[in-house]
């Protein structure tokens, strides 16, 4: 007759971690906010046109005029970083949003409806799991050409099953909870319970988990650009910038490669911290 309380270990873990982690959480939020603002207002902030070629000022070191120096075409690295934030952030954002929506829908259908539909969807997920997201993205590039569109669509599909499986699992465990039976007994319809009550209970957890995908997607999209299969020149993109700047490395021009590389790392770290913190916070709100 003792009450089922969340295990002590879990509670113990949350206590001290939350406080310390919180400061990093806010720092990360700040970093991401700054990057997002820079991306949105890039035309107003960037000191130069990101594609402005100046062949007489290539590979300059940082100066008052060019805070982060210039690249092999004399383009302002800072301006390219600011504009590059657009594709760097937009791509993963779209993938996370699409895959989350798609995944939640599929997971909801599979988990709630069950039966043969669940089996078919499960098989479909299994097949997609066997194709790593980067592989799907590479295939999509081969099929539909380079740029942001094909990889983003492909990766949305690649990541959706992960979201869907989590959603399905949560929906299943949620569906077996007495509160769902209670709604049924009260006369509420199945779809109403699924969409209005169960889904909102599940979405935050799924959302928080999806946030963690942002980092992976960003790294993978940048990797795709690095392979020359992603965002194409002259569009400023962090991954493509690293790719372009690679040639300069032999000449000892490290800055044009390091600046976007560091930016990628910082954003991924920030997003992961935020995602984990969110999962922690939200996960803590629902009885385990």
């Amino acid at each position: 007759m003792s009450a089922p309380t969340p295990t002590l270990a879990v509670r113990m873990m949350r206590g001290p971690r939350l406080k310390r982690a919180a400061s990093w959480y806010f720092v990360s939020l700040g970093v991401l906010a700054v990057m997002t603002l820079a991306a949105v207002f890039a035309p107003f902030i960037a000191p130069y046109d990101p594609n402005l070629v100046n062949l007489s000022a290539v590979h300059q070191s940082p100066s008052i005029a060019h805070w982060l120096g210039t690249d092999s075409l004399g383009r302002d690295t800072l301006s390219r970083m600011i504009f590059g934030a657009r594709t760097a952030l937009l791509g993963p954002l779209l993938v996370v949003v699409f895959s989350t929506i798609l995944g939640i829908l599929l997971g909801l259908v599979a988990g709630w409806r069950g039966g043969w539909l669940d089996a078919v969807l499960g098989r479909f997920f299994d097949v997609i799991f066997a194709f790593p997201s980067l592989l799907i993205a590479i295939m999509a590039v081969a099929l539909f050409g380079k740029g942001l569109v094909a990889p983003v669509i492909a990766m949305s599909i690649a990541y959706a099953p992960f979201v869907a499986r989590l959603t399905r699992q949560l929906i299943l465990s949620e569906r077996s909870r007495p509160y769902v039976s209670a709604y049924r007994v009260q006369g509420f319809s199945g779809p109403w319970i699924a969409l209005r009550r169960v889904l909102p209970n599940v979405t935050p957890i799924v959302g928080a988990q999806s946030t963690l995908n942002f980092g992976y997607v960003l790294a993978e999209l940048a990797g795709l650009s690095f392979l020359g299969l992603g965002v194409q020149a002259p569009t400023a993109d962090w991954g493509a910038m690293i790719n372009e700047a690679q040639a300069g490395l032999v000449g000892g021009y490290f800055l044009p490669a390091i600046v976007p590389a560091v930016a990628v790392v910082i954003v991924v770290v920030a997003v992961n911290i935020i995602g984990e913190e969110l999962s922690d916070r939200i996960g803590g709100g629902v009885p385990a």
């Binding site: 007759m1 089922p4 007495p178 509160y179 007994v185 006369g187 909102p200 209970n201 629902v286």
Partner: protein
């Protein structure tokens, strides 16, 4: 000789919370000491402190002497030695307490092999002996089985055997039977008592069940909020409790002992046996006829959860359903409320057919107005995201055309009826206690004004004192509204507090039915008798009964 001597034990968490506050407790060799109290009172903490299992970073003061050794501040080797030779512990949930990925044999022999340095064969022989000692049917086979292949009762025997491998002087039992059925509990308690006697061990027995403590223990300590409230011989504490807390606890504990009035009534009824016809004359509110349900599982034999059950409850009546775990009680309830479809048979509520799972909106609403249900687990039966008042309001507005203001005031009214202040309307379930949640669940069921209310183990998850409050509430509502109630429980004592009639279920069938009091006084079916005999009684009472029986 004093085996365990705890004095002024205080335990603080790093965040400053004081979990144990000046506990003093003593156990002599061969003595059984009970530790009772409500959930969270610190029973388990005290027990764990004895073998040096403290929460990370906890600060302690006072002393815990086990045998010749001071446990607090003992070195690692001292602690290992204590655990290997002096004291063993049995935990509440045998399923969680035995590593699911290792065999029973491994569980039993690992300490022998790895701590005592016994050979594998030696350890195996010893383990098999122990399994036989705790009365497991096929010790040799069990050695190679995995925990999931055994039932809860068998696992608890394994756990006991495991605790006995080291021939401890002190056996600590932390609610060893809470997860088990009454009948199984009785068997386990018997095994424990036998082993205690044959080995002359001291025993610290933790339980929230006062009857159990009374039946087994020489002395008891009553704990509340990290303190010892009262202690003394079992008979003294339960017979004449000194503190109000203990008194409340004892009052709240349901008992199957019949009161004088009940005995008198029973005697009267026996003399005029034809009276029963009067109740049957009234049109039944709930009528269940030949209901069957079997679950088909892929690749396994189907389970006949409910086999042709017929029950009926007169308008305003209350029927109790008791039976051990898996006897089909919940399945019956779920069919009645329309969560599950019946394979055969019929359900009628107030004369209307309610057999099928409702499909259309109209059917759903009609069914919902006929029967409502309160679920067992108050922590899971409320939507975690929806405030208490809101969930009641949802139900109200689904079934009536109330505007939001009217709905709101109705919500407050309902909350008031179940004894909750208006402020709780906005509370999230998480912030409510178990008892409060169950009140909200009841209010929510009442909001629809159903003809029949089904309560499936609605109080099983609650502490005795809280359970008593909820049971009183149900009784009140019944008298106020004339509600018809189907009350499911595994606890005969609880059922008889609420219901005048009771049916006993076993493996999907009703084995006995009748007036609750009559059932208790003169059980007909052997299973009912077993059930009754399994309920622990204070040692002095059963002595009295036995002598009474001998006299007869």
């Amino acid at each position: 000789m004093t085996l365990l001597d705890i004095s002024e034990l205080t335990l603080d968490l790093p965040n400053g919370n004081r979990l144990l506050d000046g506990i003093s407790l003593r156990i002599d060799a061969g003595e059984t000491v009970g530790l009772v109290g409500e959930s969270g009172s610190g029973k388990s903490l005290t027990a764990r402190a004895v073998i040096g299992l403290l929460p990370d970073g906890a600060r302690t003061s006072g002393s815990v002497r086990l045998g010749q050794t001071e446990v607090l501040g003992a070195s690692v080797t001292q602690l290992l030695d204590l655990r290997r030779h002096t004291a063993s512990m049995i935990f509440q949930d045998p399923r969680a307490g035995i590593n699911p990925m290792r065999t029973i044999g491994d569980h039993l022999t690992e300490a022998l092999r790895l701590c005592e340095g016994k050979s594998t064969a030696e350890a195996k022989t010893r383990a098999t002996e122990l399994l036989a000692a705790v009365r497991l049917p096929r010790p040799d086979d069990h050695m190679n089985q995995y925990p999931h292949e055994l039932s809860g009762g068998m696992l608890q025997r394994v756990m006991i055997a495991g605790a006995l491998t080291s021939s401890p002087q002190l056996l600590i039992c932390d609610e060893p039977t809470t997860a088990l059925d009454v009948t199984t509990q009785a068997e386990i308690v018997a095994v424990l008592a036998e082993q205690r006697a044959s080995r002359g061990m001291g025993m610290l027995f933790i339980t929230h069940d006062l009857n159990l403590a009374a039946s087994l223990c020489d002395r008891v300590y009553v704990m509340s909020a990290g303190r010892v409230e009262e202690h003394g011989t079992a008979r003294a504490v339960f017979g004449s409790p000194q503190t109000p807390y203990t008194r409340r606890l004892i009052e709240a504990t349901p008992s199957i002992a019949l009161s004088a009035a009940e005995t008198a009534e029973l005697a009267q009824r026996e003399s005029a046996p034809a009276v029963a016809g009067g109740a049957q004359a009234a049109e039944p509110m709930l009528e269940v006829e030949g209901l069957c349900k079997s679950y088909r599982r892929r690749g396994k034999a189907p389970v006949d959860a409910v086999k042709s059950i017929s029950v009926s409850i007169p308008r305003g009546g209350a029927l109790g359903v008791v039976g051990e775990s898996g006897s089909g009680k919940s399945t019956l309830a779920r069919m009645i409320v329309g969560l599950e479809s019946a394979d055969a048979g019929g359900i009628r509520v107030d004369g209307r057919d309610r057999t099928t799972v409702p499909h259309t909106r109209a059917e759903r609403l009609a069914h919902a107005r006929s029967v409502q249900m309160v679920f067992q687990d108050p922590y899971l039966s409320l939507d975690p995201r929806i405030a208490a008042g809101r969930s009641i309001e949802d139900a109200l507005r689904l079934h009536s055309k109330l505007d939001s203001r009217a709905a709101r005031s109705r919500v407050l009214e309902l909350l008031d009826q179940v004894g909750l202040a208006a402020q709780y309307a906005d509370a999230r379930p998480r912030t409510l206690s178990g008892g409060q949640r169950q009140r909200v669940a009841i209010a929510r069921a009442l909001a629809i004004e159903p003809d029949v209310l089904v309560m499936d183990e609605a109080t099983s998850a609650l502490d005795v004192s809280v359970q008593a409050q909820v049971l009183d509430l149900v009784a009140d509502i019944r008298t106020e509204r004339g509600l018809t109630v189907l009350f499911i429980s595994h606890d005969l004592a609880v059922v008889r507090r609420v219901c005048e009639e009771t049916v006993v279920m076993k493996s999907g069938e009703v084995v006995e039915r009748g007036q609750s009091v009559q059932l208790l006084a003169a059980p007909q079916h052997p299973y009912t008798r077993l059930l009754l005999d399994s309920i622990p009684r204070p040692a002095w009472e059963s002595d009295a009964r036995e002598s009474a029986a001998a006299n007869a």
